[in-house]
């Protein structure tokens, strides 16, 4: 309930020169604005965590949290450290609750990163365009904010309308973060419920952020034909002054592009980006270029190509200033999230800032005005570029060999490598003049250049600088095309594919998302995407995952984006955009429930999530997830009923959600058509699953697209892919196939004899098919 406006009657207000403006007009409860059609409001408008707790409990009962402590200790308060191995902490917390608490904390951090970003972006865009700037997603998108509609119960018409959703989100986040305090929650299951809520808030924050930037900055609005843009270190013209943007907030990058356009300098400077800032700048202006995902950061900074480095927020190396100094690059910080100890020059005259930076009077600058960033960055790059070209940045190849000879084979570089890559052998090979091993580690980001090896080396061998130099050997090959982020799926596309997805005729929607913490480089992820594309799945992608898919070429030199359509259709490869565009993944699942099944969204979270869990064959793949944002993203989509497969490093998030096929009672569903409780099958079997290898992940991903609502035709098709892939990677028909065959019609014709043999061995009996499988209205509700 909003507070009443204060009555400004007393003398205090008369004597002070206050300017008062009244913001939102508070409507009388129970009334609705007249310019909007009345919609029925479901039970959970602006839900608190406890409003959705009963749904969480259903999920958590079926997909029990699986904990893998990264640390036996808790060191959050001064009672500690407390050793939780077989013991409780001084506050009474046990190991399971502590893991769940840490996951909640991670999800809060991730969610806050996206939502802080959204708040910053929204205020900036309102300041630039006005609060009444219309939210117009074009003729193809009527449901422009499916998450917001479901949670807030309203349709945002103007930029200013997004504030209400952000206010709600921020209120929720304070409560969730407060639960992490010592002596609050004590149950691991309730910590998980709160983590799911934090993930949901993350989804909402991302939707607000992306929607605001799409409409205000005129980014593609669900355009399947969004332009191809350049990607790769080899695409950067090193003869020009180069401005590099790192992070996630488009505002400074947009400011740079605007300034260059105003001054007719577009041809004279190179603007490129790393991480999601790169994706979003190319959505704003296709003349910008993408260096690559997060894994390119240190390699590219070390290469010395960038004259000016603009940092905004999220996933930026925190030692960027130290690294930039090594080659005289200038750093400009642009948001309150990362100030780097630099002097705040926001209110300083632009030319004075340029002068101070060029003459090294200041280490760098904090400039919080994106337009000023544009001007300063361009001027500094033009003034410093020529001088910097004389600076010798990297060792030449002969020096690389000499440096490698310093190696004493202590092996510590291998041991501290988070990815356990054979760096020592590569360095030793380089010492003999064979650079191929280091090149193999550089290519495809098998080494993601964290620099831990370099710090550990007792001989101070500059391994990353050597890698950066070796990476330049095939610079010409590091040129790719990626489709610019198109934003959400259009309603008309949902109308076309909603039924085939729900009935199972399209075998699944696979979302390749997340960071580049890959166990064995990015190419295998791209090949996995290619596998599913060739099998007529719909593949969607965002952020660093989208860049990874773009860095793989076939024998003809074409990337996946050049080979497959950008439409949301079978065999379509849909780059939705940046990290915040991840909101459109649950968004499209919600739209399917609304457009295809006519489910009302407003205040109706549980019904929508239940529909998605039981009917929408979608599965996320975050093979290189590393960040707290990725934790929040996955946890959020899990709450909507979408399973996610993660890579081996993600086991370090400490928690998974695993189903147990041997516990048959956990797979019961309610057939809403007749109210009967029936034994369902484990579909989807897990909600959050960590795989060790890409083969395992591929098979599991296909399996996690199964849904109780599949028609027999759809189930046949999905099982056909599951069996095919299992034979490819495991050599056999999967032993658990009998668990997913409900009636004989479900059996793929190609494999009928083999499957029947397994069914006979397992004493299989046909099952009754539920017409409307659901977890709602079960006993105990």
């Amino acid at each position: 309930m909003a507070p009443k406006p204060k009555e400004f009657k007393d003398d205090f207000w008369k004597t002070k020169d206050f300017k008062i403006s009244i913001g939102d007009i508070i409507q009388k409860e129970g009334t609705q604005s007249t310019d909007e059609p009345l919609v029925p409001m479901g039970p959970t408008q602006k839900p608190n965590v406890t409003d959705l707790r009963s749904w969480d409990m259903k999920l958590l009962e079926r997909y029990e949290p699986f904990y893998a402590p990264l640390c036996d200790m808790c060191c959050l308060c001064t009672y500690g450290k407390c050793d939780l191995l077989g013991k409780k902490g001084a506050c009474g917390i046990d190991a399971a609750a502590q893991q769940a608490r840490t996951v909640l904390l991670a999800c809060c951090i991730g969610s806050a990163a996206h939502s802080g970003h959204a708040r910053h972006l929204l205020e900036y865009l309102i300041d630039k365009k006005g609060k009444d700037f219309p939210i117009d997603m074009g003729t193809g998108i009527d449901i422009e904010a499916p998450i917001m509609r479901t949670l807030i119960g309203k349709t945002p018409k103007k930029l200013g309308d997004l504030k209400e959703a952000l206010d709600y989100l921020e209120e929720q986040m304070v409560h969730l973060l407060s639960a992490c305090h010592t002596g609050q929650e004590g149950s691991s299951i309730d910590f998980e419920s709160k983590a799911l809520h934090a993930g949901l808030m993350d989804n909402l924050g991302k939707e607000i952020g992306d929607l605001a930037q799409i409409v205000a900055l005129d980014m593609p609005k669900g355009d399947a034909e969004a332009p191809l843009v350049e990607l790769g270190i080899g695409t950067i013209d090193r003869e020009k002054p180069v401005i590099l943007c790192i992070g996630h907030n488009v505002a400074p990058g947009a400011g740079i592009m605007d300034y260059l356009e105003e001054q007719n300098l577009e041809e004279d400077l190179e603007v490129c980006g790393i991480c999601c800032a790169a994706i979003d700048i190319t959505r704003y202006n296709k003349n910008a270029k993408i260096v690559g995902p997060i894994s390119k950061q240190l390699k590219f900074i070390r290469s010395g190509v960038a004259d000016v480095i603009i940092v905004d927020e999220q996933c930026i190396r925190t030692d960027v200033l130290e690294e930039a100094k090594k080659n005289n690059a200038v750093v400009i910080a642009t948001t309150d999230k990362m100030c780097l100890g630099l002097p705040n020059k926001t209110d300083e005259d632009s030319d004075k800032i340029v002068s101070e930076l060029v003459n090294n009077q200041i280490e760098g600058a904090l400039i919080l005005n994106p337009d000023k960033v544009g001007e300063v960055a361009a001027k500094v790059a033009m003034k410093t570029s020529e001088g910097r070209s004389k600076v010798k940045v990297l060792p030449d190849l002969d020096e690389v060999v000499e440096l490698a000879k310093e190696c004493t084979e202590c092996e510590w570089c291998d041991r501290v490598c988070p990815n356990s890559i054979p760096m020592m052998d590569a360095v030793m090979a380089a010492s003999t003049g064979d650079l191929s091993q280091m090149q193999r580690l550089y290519n495809n980001d098998i080494c993601y250049s964290c620099g831990r090896c370099e710090q550990e080396c007792p001989r101070d061998i500059p391994i990353i600088s050597m890698m950066a130099k070796i990476g330049e050997i095939n610079l010409q090959d590091q040129k790719y095309n990626i489709r610019a982020g198109r934003g959400p799926v259009q309603d008309v596309e949902v109308r076309r594919v909603g039924a085939p997805i729900v009935l199972g005729d399209i075998p699944g929607v696979i979302a390749f998302v997340g960071c580049t913490n890959y166990p064995d480089g990015g190419e295998e992820v791209a090949k996995m995407a290619e596998e599913f594309l060739e099998r007529n799945y719909i593949v969607v992608t965002t952020g660093c995952g989208a860049m990874t898919l773009g860095e793989y070429k076939d024998e003809e030199g074409k990337t996946l984006y050049e080979r497959y359509s950008g439409s949301f259709e079978a065999k379509g490869l849909v780059n939705m955009g940046s990290c915040v565009s991840n909101a459109h993944i649950p968004g499209v699942a919600i739209k399917i429930a609304n457009i295809f099944a006519k489910k009302p969204l407003e205040g109706n979270f549980e019904e929508i999530a239940d529909y998605i869990l039981n009917r929408v064959g979608a599965c996320g793949v975050a093979w290189g997830a590393y960040s707290q944002k990725a934790a929040a993203i996955a946890t959020g989509v899990n709450r909507w009923g979408i399973p996610v497969v993660v890579g081996p490093h993600a086991s370090k998030y400490r928690r998974l959600f695993l189903g147990r096929t041997d516990k048959e009672e956990s797979w019961q569903v309610n057939d809403l058509r007749n109210g009967e409780i029936v034994n369902g099958e484990p579909a989807p079997e897990h909600l959050l699953y960590a795989a060790e290898t890409i083969g395992e992940a591929t098979v599991m991903t296909a399996k996690l697209c199964l849904r109780p609502n599949d028609t027999s035709k759809g189930r046949q098709l999905k099982l056909n892919h599951y069996i095919d892939l299992h034979k490819k990677y495991f050599g056999t028909i999967p032993e658990d196939i009998y668990k997913f065959v409900r009636v004989q019609k479900d059996i793929p014709i190609t494999y009928k004899r083999d499957v029947m043999k397994i069914l006979d061995e397992k004493n299989w009996k046909p099952k009754k098919l539920p017409q409307e499988p659901s977890l709602m209205d079960m006993k105990g509700d």
């Binding site: 050793d83 041991r415 501290v416 032993e735």
Partner: protein
């Protein structure tokens, strides 16, 4: 500190409790003492000579085998019976005292690991360390796993090969 018992990735160190560093002799005593041991082979056990070592150790001690990731196919091709699980699936079953084990004869009391991806195996071992007091874990990798109950030390291939050969004798 003895380098052989610093975890191979030093940052996996989790707390005061560390694995017992074992020689093949002690490891064999653990296997002999176990009523229902289980061998879990990870994706690093897809390569020779580890495939042969693993098969021969399993044969020697009559160990049922679980293969994780997509390791199953290599052993299938060699006509060695294994059961495929994701590493997180088998760990999830092992931590449940009610699970009846691979052959339905009861939960296992000793789980022997070879060939897991180091950092992920560490996580799985941590799960069992915290939530499966009913069983012991033993790792026969060439890396010291501090989250196990017992582990071989960090070794070079040559010494490791000698250790594994010794595991095939009484």
């Amino acid at each position: 500190m003895n380098e052989r018992v610093i975890p191979w990735q030093p940052t996996v160190i989790a707390g005061p409790k560390q694995a017992l560093m074992v020689t093949p002799e002690t490891a064999k005593m653990m296997v002999k003492k176990a009523k229902r041991p289980l061998l879990v082979l990870g994706p690093l056990a897809k390569e020779e000579p580890l495939v042969t070592h693993s098969i021969e150790i399993a044969e020697k001690w009559d160990l049922p085998i679980v293969t994780t990731a997509d390791t199953f196919k290599i052993y299938l091709d060699k006509r060695v019976e294994t059961k495929a699980y994701g590493i997180v699936e088998i760990i999830n079953l092992l931590k449940d005292p009610e699970w009846e084990g691979l052959k339905g004869e009861g939960q296992h009391d000793l789980v022997i690991f070879i060939g897991g991806i180091y950092y992920m195996a560490s996580q799985g071992l941590s799960t069992l360390k915290h939530f499966a007091p009913h069983l012991k874990t033993l790792t026969l990798c060439k890396y010291f796993h501090s989250n196990a109950d017992a582990s071989f030390p960090n070794m070079k291939d040559k010494e490791w090969s000698i250790y594994l050969e010794k595991m095939k004798t009484d």
